[in-house]
């Protein structure tokens, strides 16, 4: 077992087989730097719980393919990314820091899927981004690719 400590001082025990999906921790273990608790100053406990949930589920990725549990894993992934933007960004930052490739891919794909076909206004509202472009600058971008800003598929809702 490997002990991880979040930045709000909570400790979690994780199986080594699960935790080595993190390239960073794998390297630490290999270098013999993981003898006691591994502090993770960039990750809070709420996010770390999510990450560990993912690591535990994906512990036997190779086996899943053999035993036909792929669908189960797919369903888990779909449920897993069903979270708010802020939480998603927290998990992305954690996956980036811990260097967990599959988790990073999953979350970035989810972010891209959420942005797909969204109107500019909807993106601003969803992500709480203030528009600092002048009207002319914005129009210039629209003029360069008008087809990207019109059509029935453009979604103006913010869910």
């Amino acid at each position: 077992m490997v002990k991880l400590k979040s930045n709000d001082d909570k400790e979690f025990e994780v199986e080594e087989a699960a935790v080595i999906q993190s390239e960073m921790i794998k390297n630490m273990i290999e270098d013999g730097c993981a003898t006691s608790v591994i502090p993770l100053p960039n990750i809070d406990s709420k996010t770390l719980i999510k990450v560990i949930e993912y690591l535990n589920k994906h512990i036997n990725m190779g086996k899943a393919a053999e035993t036909g549990e792929e669908d189960d894993l797919k369903e888990f992934d779909e449920q897993f990314v069903n979270m708010g933007w802020e939480e998603l960004f927290d998990v992305i930052m954690a996956a980036n820091y811990l260097n967990i490739h599959e988790l990073m891919e999953l979350c970035c794909q989810s972010a891209a899927d959420r942005l797909k076909n969204k109107s500019v206004r909807a993106v601003r509202e969803m992500l709480k981004i203030t528009n600092d472009l002048t009207e002319e600058e914005e129009q210039e971008i629209i003029n360069d690719a008008p087809w990207a800003f019109e059509g029935p598929e453009i979604d103006d809702t913010v869910n």
């Binding site: 990073m104 891919e105 891209a112 942005l115 601003r124 981004i129 360069d144 690719a145 087809w147």
Partner: protein, 378 residues
């Protein structure tokens, strides 16, 4: 700093203070020191309070998309379609910059346009950019003169000189002034006409006379129909340009050789031609017309019975070229060229046969075969 000032101060105190100017100087130094200490303390206090405040704010404020590291953002944006990237670029200035990165657009460029954009189209794009930049530079300099008057023009000139004439250099170099996104969007919007070759030209206009040929044209894309328009070079005797519309992707290719349409291609495969080899040959109706590339297969000479064991066609000085899209009696069905010194053969009646390219790749051969007409031609 403090040490230096104090030692300076003590040194000055030690010095005899006879003159007025020295006294005045000392006073100034004392004032300065007092001010410096006060400022320093203030600054220290401020930064302390500030850092405490920041900590509070950090905890309260949720992480935002723009807080993600650049590489992570790229990881998200590289999953967006070109339309998605354009839409994100209009959200704010920071995303405009990030979503316009060449790295993101190169993938889309390669995926959609890689097969059709050759070196000729790239050269054309460089010219297009250079002339566009020249025009906008002229316009800008005119604007600047109007707004700021002569003085600023001089200042601008000096500024340019100190920058090493960056503007002039950029006009010459398209890649410095244009992004891959710019190029992609110019292709998508159809604003940019580029050189390509069209198979079975004018079939959309009802012609069958160009079956199994490939002609040079300037083409432009229409993203609403996902088809192209082509402009063929005008014939001197006709004087007007021929335009064909609604051309599908599979009827276009990038020019396969650098030989322009009015230049005879130098054949380098003549000694390698043997029966059943696939080839393309330049052909033009008369000397004032551009060449097109015509597909054919090398046949057996009349003196050969065609059996593999006794065939000596590849040793013969002449090569029989067959165009099987035409019926066997047609004057277009076959022609004979000399293997040793072939450059261009023909006459005003049957047209002129020019340079030959042997086709080695199965991909090219199957492309030609996919364009085969439904019935043989006269």
């Amino acid at each position: 700093m403090l040490f230096f000032l104090v030692s300076c101060f003590s040194f000055m105190l030690l010095k005899p203070m006879g003159t007025l100017s020295n006294v005045w100087f000392c006073e100034e130094v004392v004032k300065f020191l007092a001010l410096w200490f006060r400022k320093g303390r203030n600054a220290m206090m401020k930064s302390d309070v500030k850092s405490k405040l920041e900590k509070v704010v950090e905890k309260e404020e949720d992480i935002c998309l723009l807080d993600l590291p650049d590489l992570t953002l790229e990881c998200i944006f590289e999953r967006l379609t070109p339309d998605g990237l354009c839409s994100m670029a209009a959200v704010c200035s920071s995303l405009r910059e990030k979503c316009g990165s060449d790295h993101l657009w190169e993938k889309h460029m390669k995926q959609k346009w890689g097969g059709l954009i050759g070196s000729a189209a790239y050269k054309e794009w460089q010219c297009y950019i250079a002339s566009r930049n020249k025009a906008s530079l002229l316009m800008n300099s005119r604007k600047k003169r109007d707004f700021r008057g002569k003085f600023s023009t001089i200042r601008q000139l000096l500024l340019n000189r100190s920058k090493g004439n960056e503007d002039d250099r950029r006009v010459g170099d398209a890649s410095a002034m244009s992004s891959v996104m710019d190029w992609f969007l110019s292709l998508e919007s159809g604003k940019f006409w580029f050189p390509a070759q069209v198979f079975n030209r004018e079939v959309q206009n009802g012609h069958v006379g160009f079956m199994l040929s490939c002609y040079d044209a300037e083409v432009s894309y229409d993203c609403s129909t996902n088809t192209f328009s082509a402009r063929y070079p005008s014939y001197p005797s006709h004087g007007r340009r021929i335009i064909e519309e609604d051309i599908e992707w599979n009827r276009l290719r990038a020019p396969t050789v650098d030989t322009p349409p009015y230049v005879l291609h130098v054949s380098d495969c003549l000694h390698d031609l043997k029966p059943d080899d696939h080839f393309e040959i330049q052909w033009r109706k008369s000397k004032e017309f551009p060449y097109g590339w015509w597909y054919g297969v090398v046949g057996h000479l009349e003196t050969c019975n065609g059996s593999e064991s006794s065939c000596h066609c590849h040793d013969s000085e002449t090569v029989l070229l067959e165009f099987k899209q035409y019926t066997s009696g047609s004057r277009w069905r076959q022609t004979v060229i000399n293997r040793k010194d072939h450059r261009e053969v023909g006459n005003e009646e049957d047209g002129f046969y020019g340079g030959i390219r042997k086709l080695y790749s199965d991909k090219e051969i199957s492309l030609w075969k996919s364009l085969w007409p439904s019935s043989t031609l006269e």
